[in-house]
Symmetry: D2
């Protein structure tokens, strides 16, 4: 198991869907950052189920407690342990899951790997695991904003075939939070919400794309050859549940251009270098170039559908399974704070690494 | 700088385009594997420039030497140092590069990060850096084949708009190596070669997609929550020069399906579990499920074009640059062994990690 | 800050003397190990203050809770979070510490490093920090015993000038636990207890030596050249508060012998190799050789004395300080479970690492 | 195998006694440090055999080559590969070693761990392995001196029962290099040399103590709770061949004092804090306090003696072995540059880590 992320700003997450709770230990946070639960709770509120009619109705208040690492409202430079108690434990709602593997879930692979699994609520494979990431990411985001002037945000760019209009350089957080689907394009947002509601009524699910953005990153962050900034972003995103793809800047679409068309010309003005286009997505050779970083993450439709499906049981007999209980028709609105958290975690780690070698 | 990849089977690469050479130290290789230069050289031959009319004409034989870690033709369990001397050093061919940043290259970002750069041939940012990866990957691939029965391969799936027909479960290495573009679909291959030649004559470049495949991976490899198998693959691929995107299984296309359509039903036969479709790409919850692993990597068109482009010089003055010398119109044929190498490195590391915790 | 120890079996500890508590996240524990709080609590009871008249009277029950990582009494292979709530928080007892640096404590260096410190109770520099280590070590110790047949124990070998007779190959846990100073030589133990009591009455403190032992370690554990088994043990021991030295096998005394006298001759019997002496301390070339591993750790006298001492305040003015409140005249009895825990953590990590590369 | 040391300034060493050579890759070195072979060679000359009549007569010039990582005499921030070719390869001199395990050497444990070993010259277990450490350490030492004003040195403090007079705060490099035993006390040095020569004539060996010193380390370096500065020093020293013990400051002797006697009182002068004694050895709570860091390392007598000894062969039959060929009666003079190198590597890594979190 690998539950630690980052080199200098490191998070270690823990916790299952059922049990004593979920949480995170943040190690390496610089000292003397003002930090209370109030800095973290809003991000958890954006992540939690039950926040709107289009996401999972699981009832958890997800109240965070700082168990260590601060003193008189400031970080000490020691590990910060954040804890969110589990509340809505209804193992009985999952009893069939004890014996049957949900298709396209991790039930079977966990059983194959470990020979044991916490079946209630999916245990560690539940999206609840991301509570720790979002909590840790909230600290990273605050540091980035206050000490480096870097702004991180994400939004829903596409739900199935509905594509939002959004300019990574311009999108504002207020526009993202203006609707429950977290899409800054109000027209697309309305269509997305309708599609998700229709999908939920059908007991089915839809996927889509979240776009992540970082503005104000100075030139120089990123550690070639293996810990290129985009490589660490890709890993961070593909470590999120249900993600299936990552592309930065021009991405897969960029392959339709030639080199002449694709290259971003450099220009200088007032002693500063910039590029007149940004197909590179703000990163060249694995290192930030000072332009806006933007990338897209594909999330498959949630695997839990309210319909009968073929599967096998734990004795490897063929059977069928029909999910009961909570139904999350579209993970995207809740994936937005997850993408932001992971982006912030990657960036702050690289900020510190750059400072260490070249500071 | 971060030049080490892997946790238990680790490679550390080193070397610039010009200077004493390029190489790799492989640490953690199990002992008693038969290994000589003959196991590594063929992979380097597939990676090196000058191997065909459609790739860079740089003349290097790229002859590998094992400096340590073997005895009487077998690995010792100690670090294996592999060295490839540099031969074709013509710094004068690059003299303009000393003063001007090539657009969409890493010249500017290295200068911004380090305040110094080895401009001849691009230094560490040259694709020559991947020699060490391919050499280390050759050892990983041999181990996977001999000790785990796992087969890794990659091929060119798309060049600009030309898409090959290829079934990840069926493609054979012989079909891939049957043509200079390394595309197993002969008709598409012929069209791709024509396109690349035409592009070269125009002094321009094209990009495309390499598909990577791993067959025979048993259920259980992968380390959630952060080192999911697909997360480590994504990082590995995005650490390759010129890569802009990664998708696994259904990838970005999968978002057009609903959950019902996307899920892979489980079935059992003869005490073994399998899925009747494979949109998951062989990985569920970050852990291999025993099906074929397949993914795609987008490579942008090579940035070095033989045409004049806007750029700035090291004094941040606006200027233009027209590349001289060698011209690599399409990186894809040479990217194939790179993708294979990185895939093998990820898989062998996960094989050992799984063995450590659950073996 | 570096609060993670180990590569494959990893602990991350957190918590200050005052605040929400102290704890540990154990990552990499193999699945399906029977584990409840009852496996951990006894070790914490041996570590906690207030257990006898010769240690610190701080009143804490140190009750451990498993927050994650187990299901139905077995480990899941997922991270195990253990939490011990803080109880005896009396910040007022420490108010002078807010303004003055205790001599030979970490108050000054934490302030110098972080520009902030949690002064009540010493914050993270309190020996309370070792709760997480001992809790994590209890799991490691159980794994070593049940899966590898390895027995780890430690005992007080020396208090100031009083040296115990003890044979590392023979000492039994019962003899160690038979008295409050945790010395298996009853005569020496009685003298040690008298010395410690006398020292306490004088408001002073004494140090000494803890000997650590591991029996049943098979040949082959240890990872040269840097993670030699003795190197990792040395680091583990020197990471304990108040430790000033480490020696293995013949240690510092061995330098008085010549090579002829010092070498351990090999002999074979029944297809097994052994040595007829064990000045190597069970490790040769950084790798266990199958003999008993034994080493000694020097602990300085506790820095908190009940007498007036010269020091400076946070404004760098000269002043004096006289500690108030709890007085721990000798850390050694409580250091015994700490040494055992760290030994077990080093060994289980190396067991898994060996299994990964050579298994 | 674990052949990488350090977190931010990392060395990866490689190479066997026989084969293509030995070397090191240094990753994380800050850019723009002036560096040529001339900065490294002198340290290798101090480490190599054959430099005086009292050390191993193996004939190697140990000429270092920089293969990568510099440009026009300056570091690039990219990995620096240093290579020293093997020259004096006389495998026949070791042929008996192919079949017999040398007592108190690593022959048996390597065979037990890996099932294979490079027996000529001891392969990776040869002291020749430390070439890479000393080469990498030379760069670390230069950085410490030029960028941080920190001076690192070591010297022979004791050979068997002969103890040198030396004040860690005062010893000068010139005094250390003034004699072939590298002991700054001329009277003791003369006696040591006589003892070593007598021992060599007897075909035997002697051990002793090297004292390591770092002056000018600012307050704040060290990463509790696990990577305390003394913990990393202890690991570094115990990773050196033949080392058996480590103690810092008052060390094992400090246990004879009471807390009152042992504590280092703080005083302030001119806005700076210092201690009036230094039993802490310059480190408190794992963090440097600005005083001189000093510690001692015990090295056992070299295991290779020119006399017949009991041992077993590779078929686990009892036999005897009498070493032939080169005889190194005392490792201490050559251990001095090794201790310096490892000390410098620990310190520079901590300098960068401190800069990252608290810079």
């Amino acid at each position: 198991m690998a539950n630690t992320f980052g080199h200098l700003f490191r998070i270690t997450t823990w916790g299952e869907s059922h049990g004593g709770g979920v949480g995170v230990v943040v190690d390496g946070c610089p000292p003397r950052l003002a930090l209370t639960e109030a800095d973290i709770q809003p991000e958890l509120d954006r992540r939690r189920p039950g926040q709107s009619k289009i996401v999972s109705p699981r009832k958890e208040t997800d109240t965070v407690q700082i168990l260590s690492g601060t003193f008189e409202g400031k970080t000490l430079g020691t590990p910060i342990c954040l804890w969110v108690k589990n509340e809505d434990a209804r193992p009985e709602a999952y009893s069939e899951m004890a014996r049957k593997f949900r298709p396209s879930h991790a039930d079977y692979t966990y059983q194959a790997k470990f020979g044991i699994r916490a079946w209630p609520g999916g245990g560690r494979t539940s999206a609840r695991e991301t509570v720790g990431r979002v909590a840790g990411g909230a600290i990273a985001r605050k540091l980035l904003r206050e000490r480096y002037g870097v702004e991180v945000l994400a939004y829903v760019k596409q739900v199935q075939r509905i594509v939002a209009k959004a300019d990574p350089q311009q999108v504002q957080s207020e526009a993202v939070e203006a609707n429950i689907v977290r899409c800054p394009d109000p027209l697309a947002a309305a269509r997305m919400i309708r599609l998700i509601e229709k999908t939920r009524r059908a007991g089915d699910t839809v996927g889509g794309i979240v776009e992540g953005v970082a503005r104000g990153v100075p030139p120089g962050w990123g550690e070639p050859v293996f810990d290129r900034l985009e490589a660490d972003l890709a890993k961070a995103m593909l470590s999120l549940p249900a993600s299936k793809g990552f592309e930065i800047g021009s991405g897969f679409g960029g392959i339709l251009l030639t080199g002449m068309q694709h290259n971003d010309p450099f220009r200088a003005r007032g002693g500063k270098v910039y590029t007149t286009s940004n197909r590179s997505g703000g990163i060249q050779g694995g290192i930030s170039n000072g332009e806006t970083i933007y990338f897209r993450v594909a999330f498959k439709p949630v695997a839990t559908v309210m319909r009968e499906q073929d599967t096998v049981d734990i004795e490897f007999k063929n059977t069928t399974l029909r999910a009961r209980g909570r139904h999350d028709p579209c993970v995207l609105p809740r994936a937005v704070p997850m993408v932001e958290a992971m982006t912030a975690l990657v960036l702050i780690d690289h900020a510190l690494r750059h400072q260490a070698q070249c500071g």
